[in-house]
Amino acid sequence: MTMADSQIRDHDLHHPAGAQAGAGNDAVTVRDVDFYFGSGDSARRVLHNINLRILRGQIVIMTGPSGSGKTTMLTLIGALRSLQQGSIRCFDTELRGLSLEQQVGVRRNIGFIFQSHNLFESLTARQNVHMALELRTLPEADKHRLADRVLGELGLAERLDYRPGRLSGGQRQRVAIARAVVNTPPLILADEPTAALDKDSGREVIDLLRRLADEQRCTIIIVTHDSRIMDAADRIINLTDGRISSDLDVRRTLYICQFIKQCPVFKDMLLNDLTDVAQHMELQSFAAGSEIIRQGDAGDRFHLIYRGTATVSVRQNGASREVATLNSGDFFGELALLRDEPRNATVSAATDVETFSLSKGQFLAAVRDHKSFEEQMANTMFSRRA
């Protein structure tokens, strides 16, 4: 993953994955899904107890080695396969137990983008997009206008009457995307949308999807191996052998990594370990005036300030003295954990404060794992010398 060179976008991080969010915000909720290919003795389990909540407006990248079940997951969410166990809610529709006929109805509200564009080579760009509008009861003129507008927005205004044979790979994929989005579906499922494209065309396509998610609060799930597009995601879910092996909130992870790297404890950590730490941090809120940690208490958490301002005060000889002000990006609380001592200062919220915090156990585990890693390195170097 190449998150290091990614920029942190100035986005609202208020609802990172796992944070409390109303059910109305859920696009897709996957609960306890198992899936088998084949039946009887030859049945092969491709999904193990998958649980997932995907929020509206998110771009989620599902990645993992081939055979990990990510494509199966996508076809289940897209109502292209029938669920065997567990439940998937797609907006307000439970997909479990739908008839084939009902599945078709669900699919009409989903935009599909495939690895190959699957355009009719006998139809022009406009006619291909029109195919997706055909199922709606709209006057022909409106359908034409819609198709032209979407193609125009995707930079194909000059290519409306071109057949796929006369378009470049990127243009073809953009026509396919136009076909997928022309009905403004709340959910778009994309399977390797950039695999057949060169770097620039792939970038074009992914920027486009980003715009759709931002401007229309469209939820987009992308299955891909393409590391070049990971930075466009809000969330990266890694599947291995049918299980979710990691689930990263990209912006949050980037935010956390960027700042905790400055903490001496984490300074030398590899990016992979940092993202592990970031995954374990929880968002906590403190009202203005409340104490986040109190001098003399046993240390229980490590904090990174996400929003707001906090003041550090030390009580000495009965008098409290303010010694520092902490802002977004500052961290505190690690010393008490490392030394297993009581808190040496009080940190109180000057404004409403939100912090990402790590429990003592997780903190120590991270440090310990990191150490053992260092030891391994030392051992390796030692054995080389021998």
Binding site: T71, V104, G105, F112, F114, Q115, N118, F120
Partner: protein, 381 residues
């Protein structure tokens, strides 16, 4: 409607493939036309005589079940009928089989000789110049131009032998051969009696083949017929001209297995057409499996896909039909010239084959679309 248009666009996208497909369909269409043409030709040829009769009602011997058989009935019956109420006039037609010697190579073929009264012929042959007045001269005949070529290349003024008499060709008329006789000859009564002079004169003059009756204007045809059947002895049959023509047309089908033969031919042609059309659609669908699967993924139902495939099939059928009907028309002319069997391409028959062609298209679409229905869009990923 847009889906039909889509079918059309898919079809015309590759002109080369379209052309080949059309030729395939056209081929099947031509086979169907030919089978139907032979079948109709047989029936039409059988019925051609009924068409030239100038009569409202036609009398014949009770057992005469078609115009090519030679049962005769008494002239007296016809005379009695002429006197019946509602009957204005009539004509008597003699008919017997005889041999015609080809003047060019001397070969001999069966012809049907009709004997008529030149002053009251009872036959409508507007294209025959000089008919029937020229027949008043002794031993002259009118020759059917569309008799089979084996009878020789006959022109007015030629002489040949008919039965045992030498006759001279006074003119030509158009009727057409059939499967009972190679040709037709019309003679005046006197000539007719001469040709069949070896027979008993009494019976020869009394035994007529058809008694033609024309009714008074406004007469009730059914009433007159009922009255005739009631008053005459039951050795005669009275039919309207239309009934006679219909009976003649159906006769061959009823009396011979030609209906089954050509019906089977037609069915086989239809099946060939379905197979050709199916093959074309199958390839077309194979080339578009991913596209069709995509349509299924985005919510197209079976009937939408069926509509696309069917419109492709029907449009293809129409495209194939056009060259097919042109080729069939050309072939009809050739066959007609070679066999002298009537190959009539009426609008009704064209419509019938068009209908069969469309049935062919829809049937093949119904077969071909099954591979689309079976498509699992999940396989796209």
């Amino acid at each position: 409607m847009h889906l039909v248009l889509t079918g059309w666009r898919m079809l015309v996208y590759s002109p080369r493939r379209l052309l080949l497909s059309c030729l395939g369909i056209a081929f099947a269409v031509v086979i169907m036309f030919m089978q139907m043409g032979f079948f109709n030709g047989l029936n039409d040829s059988q019925a051609n005589l009924a068409r030239i009769l100038d009569a409202d009602l036609v009398m014949s011997h009770r057992d005469k079940d078609n115009l090519k058989s030679t049962e005769e009935f008494s002239r007296k019956r016809w005379r009695q009928a002429l006197a019946a109420p509602g009957v204005a006039s009539g004509a008597a037609v003699y008919a017997s089989a005889s041999y015609w010697w080809n003047p060019q190579d001397g070969s001999r073929n069966r012809v049907l000789v009709l004997g008529i009264d030149p002053d009251n012929p009872g036959l409508r042959l507007p294209q025959a110049a000089g008919f029937p007045q020229s027949l008043k001269r002794a031993d002259t005949i009118f020759y059917d131009r569309r008799s089979r070529r084996e009878l020789g290349n006959i022109l007015p003024g030629m002489e040949s032998t008919l039965g045992q008499a030498r006759v001279k060709v006074a003119g030509l008329f158009d009727l057409g051969a059939n499967f009972s006789y190679e040709g037709h000859v019309i003679a005046g009564n006197e000539t007719y009696f001469h040709v069949f002079g070896h027979r008993d004169p009494q019976r020869l003059t009394d035994g007529i083949s058809l008694g033609l009756l024309r009714l008074l204007p406004g007469a009730d045809r059914e009433g007159v017929r009922r009255n005739l059947l009631h008053t005459l002895p039951d050795d005669v049959l009275v039919l309207t001209r239309e009934e006679l023509e219909a009976r003649e047309r159906a006769y061959t089908t009823r009396a011979t297995p030609v209906g089954i033969i050509f019906g089977t031919g037609l069915a086989v042609a239809l099946v060939i057409g379905i197979i050709i059309c199916y093959q074309l659609l199958f390839n077309e669908i194979q080339d578009h499996l991913r596209q069709f699967a995509t349509l299924k993924a985005i919510g197209y139902r079976a009937r939408h896909l069926y509509l696309i495939v069917t419109s492709e099939a029907l449009l293809l059928s129409m495209f194939g039909f056009l060259p097919g009907v042109v080729a069939a028309a050309a072939l009809y002319t050739v066959v007609e010239r070679l066999s002298e069997i009537v190959m009539d391409l009426s609008p009704g028959r064209i419509l019938f084959v068009l209908m069969l062609t469309l049935v062919m298209g829809s049937a093949s679409a119904a077969f071909a679309v099954r591979q689309v229905i079976r498509l699992d869009p999940a396989e796209l990923f």
